[in-house]
């Protein structure tokens, strides 16, 4: 009995190894994607697979940091494309794990919206194409407060009605970036007066905040624990869809934007298919299918007409005409980052 069990075990192990090696083989006609969890509908993958006669395999990750860690730990060379967030594109390029391409490699390169062509984290789009983007600012429960909310004063210098009822994201990058936008100073400043002002602003605002919570940013607004709170636009839309009178703000001082991007990885085993896939994603029809699934915003021309009515008119995804441009979270050098770490510790000590 034991003998037979062992034999079976060996058989299945051999079979598994065979299947695995078949999947990762760099033969013609396969594509290996490393992607966020639940971020692309299966239909889109199937469609690509069918159209180009390519076998698609996909592994998933749950944070930008784990994507980088996996690649650095020896997985570079087994994936063709990945989908890092804006700042991670820059970090990955600096770490040397990205490959570059020419605009002429992608016949649909012209479909990228003009404002997403020359982005700070990838000037001229040499390593990446836009996937989905969204914004981070704050929302207010309109049943409890009906004043003007299109200013970051709501968070950093709140009116009496909101004091003590504000939730902040428990995330250093986002809080310090929005505070810098509020003060109108650069995100990676090493100017002493600016940093002291930033430190002082946060110290003064802290007593007026109720809590720090990222995962529960939507929940605290829906439950009424907080009346106003920093939040991602997609999260705020969900809170509104749950029937609470929540309004997302595009403040006049500015707001944070983030963008996930498809990158071509260094040592990609199927470079040609990776480029075909990127080109495929730049077709409005395909990107619209992804956008309808993910509920964020695409960076590709011609997608808007193909979206569901709810998404097309969602106030969270459509900034008012007079909204300023958003800012990406900047990547600071080590010496500067240390100062910002210190300010964050001061805030939470």
């Amino acid at each position: 009995m034991k003998q037979r069990f062992t034999t079976k075990l060996i058989q299945s192990a051999v079979a598994a190894a065979f299947v695995l090696s078949a999947n990762t083989a760099s033969a013609e006609g396969s594509l290996s994607i490393y992607h966020w969890f639940e971020y692309i509908p299966q239909e889109v993958l199937d469609k690509f697979s069918k159209e180009y006669d390519v076998e698609v395999t996909m592994d998933t990750y749950d944070s930008n940091e784990s994507l980088l860690a996996t690649l650095k730990a020896g997985k570079l060379g087994s994936y063709d494309v990945a989908v890092p967030g804006d700042y991670m594109v820059e970090i990955m390029r600096n770490e040397g794990v990205l490959d570059s391409f020419e605009p002429s490699d992608l016949s649909n390169f012209g479909n990228i919206m003009d404002q997403w062509l020359d982005v700070s984290f990838d000037p001229g789009r040499k390593n990446s194409i836009p996937y989905q983007w969204g914004s981070t600012s704050f929302s207010v429960n309109r049943d409890m407060y009906d004043g003007d909310i299109r200013t970051t004063d709501i968070i950093f210098n709140p009116p009496e009605e909101l004091a003590g009822k504000i939730n902040m994201l428990d995330s250093q990058g986002e809080v310090l970036a929005l505070a810098s936008i509020h003060l109108g100073i650069p995100q990676c400043s090493s100017d002493r007066d600016q940093l002291k002002a930033l430190n002082a602003l946060l110290q003064e605002a802290k007593p007026k905040w109720a809590s720090f919570n990222s995962d529960g940013a939507k929940d605290v607004l829906v439950s009424g624990d907080a009346v106003a709170g920093m939040i991602y636009n997609g999260f705020s839309a969900k809170a509104r869809n749950e029937g609470v009178n929540i309004e997302y703000s595009y403040p006049k001082e500015g707001f944070i934007v983030w963008m996930d991007n498809v990158v071509l990885l260094k040592d990609a085993p199927n470079r040609d298919n990776a480029l075909k896939f990127m080109n495929f994603l730049l077709e409005p029809e395909n990107m619209a299918a992804i956008t309808n699934f993910a509920q964020y915003t695409a960076g590709v021309k011609g997608v808007n007409e193909l979206l569901t009515e709810a998404l097309k008119t969602s106030p969270e995804s459509n900034p008012p005409a007079d909204a300023p441009a958003g800012s990406f979270i900047a990547v600071c050098d080590e010496a500067t980052q240390k100062l910002y770490d210190q300010i964050w510790t001061n805030l939470k000590k």
Binding site: I91, K206, F212, G224, Y340, D341, W344, K348, K349
Partner: protein, 307 residues
């Protein structure tokens, strides 16, 4: 095979002979899962921080320097003692102390009550105490948050009963954190005390009252000294996990101030991580806890010696 087993069971000498071999699995587990990780942390705390998480294998005291000295926001002021982190430790210790006292005040009478029921009904009471703890700690803490929020069931009931006319604001306060810790760790107090009281010989209480001791004196002079080991075990079991707790402070207290647990967690998270500092903070905590326990052990030995 069976003779060998008999030897182990009956012959004490054989058992002693086998002792080291028999202890081997336990020693292996302790070494691999306890000693090695602590040593790794000790080593990491003396290494240089790598930007964006990780360490560089170069000796450095920077992590301990950061813990004890303040050189200003820009790092160029003359070093002075930094109270920031010590204050976080003191705050956590105070919080754990209050949680232990609360658990003791409620836990001792509870344990006494259970231990004085009939032998047959005691398991039922113990069972009732443990039932809520079949549910994951995170879920219990989130439920507590749901219960005590301004529009939650607790305030709704109190308002309807006419006991209060304004909701009691508990969420995101220190009281909520204490409530959470108390609720999380109460059985750790009740169960060891119950075990002690159950072994207590109640004829000693009768003897005390025969000798004209009041109930209070009996409790203070007879019962408490007899069940002291259980009380101390309970206090340690509540104090130590409360010291490093971060679920209750984060979820119920609003995460506005670092506790020891959240301070260390932050050092290993994402981009801004500082592994050597996180390791150093853990080592300092470990040193404090060991110091307190050693001090206690020495007092005990001294007390036992002078008796």
């Amino acid at each position: 095979m069976s003779t060998k087993l008999n030897n182990i069971v009956s012959g004490n000498a054989t058992f002693h002979h086998q002792r080291h071999k028999l202890l081997l699995p336990a020693w292996l587990v302790i070494c691999l899962l306890l000693v090695v990780p602590v040593l790794m942390m000790l080593v990491y705390s003396f290494l240089t921080k790598e930007f964006r998480g990780g360490v560089i294998w170069e000796f450095s005291l920077a992590a301990y320097d950061q813990f004890f000295f303040d050189r200003g926001l820009f790092g160029d002021e003359p070093a002075k003692i930094d109270w920031t982190y010590m204050r976080i430790y003191a705050r956590s210790a105070l919080q754990a102390f209050i949680a232990s006292v609360l658990c003791l005040v409620i836990g001792f009478p509870t344990a006494y009550f259970i231990a004085t029921r009939s032998v047959r009904s005691r398991p039922v009471w113990v069972f009732l105490i443990t039932i809520p703890y079949w549910v994951n700690l995170l879920i219990r803490t989130v439920s507590m948050k749901f219960m005590i929020r301004d529009s939650g069931p607790l305030n709704t009931w109190l308002l309807q009963a006419g006991i209060i006319d304004q909701p009691i604001h508990l969420i995101n306060t220190n009281i909520a954190v204490q409530l959470g810790l108390f609720y999380s760790y109460l059985p750790f107090m009740v169960l060891p005390i119950y075990a002690s009281i159950e072994r207590y010989d109640f004829s000693l209480s009768e003897a005390a009252s025969d000798l004209y001791a009041s109930k209070w004196t009996t409790l203070r002079r007879v019962i408490l000294p007899a069940v002291k080991p259980g009380i101390i075990a309970g206090c340690i079991l509540v104090f130590v996990p409360s010291l490093g707790a971060f679920l209750a402070p984060d979820l119920l207290g609003g995460a506005k101030n670092f506790m020891i647990g959240s301070l260390i967690e932050e050092q290993f998270k994402g981009n801004a991580g500082n592994w050597p500092f996180g390791a150093a903070s853990s080592m300092i905590l470990l040193a404090i806890v060991m110091g307190v326990l050693l001090l206690y052990a020495r007092n005990e030995t001294n007390a036992a010696g002078s008796r």
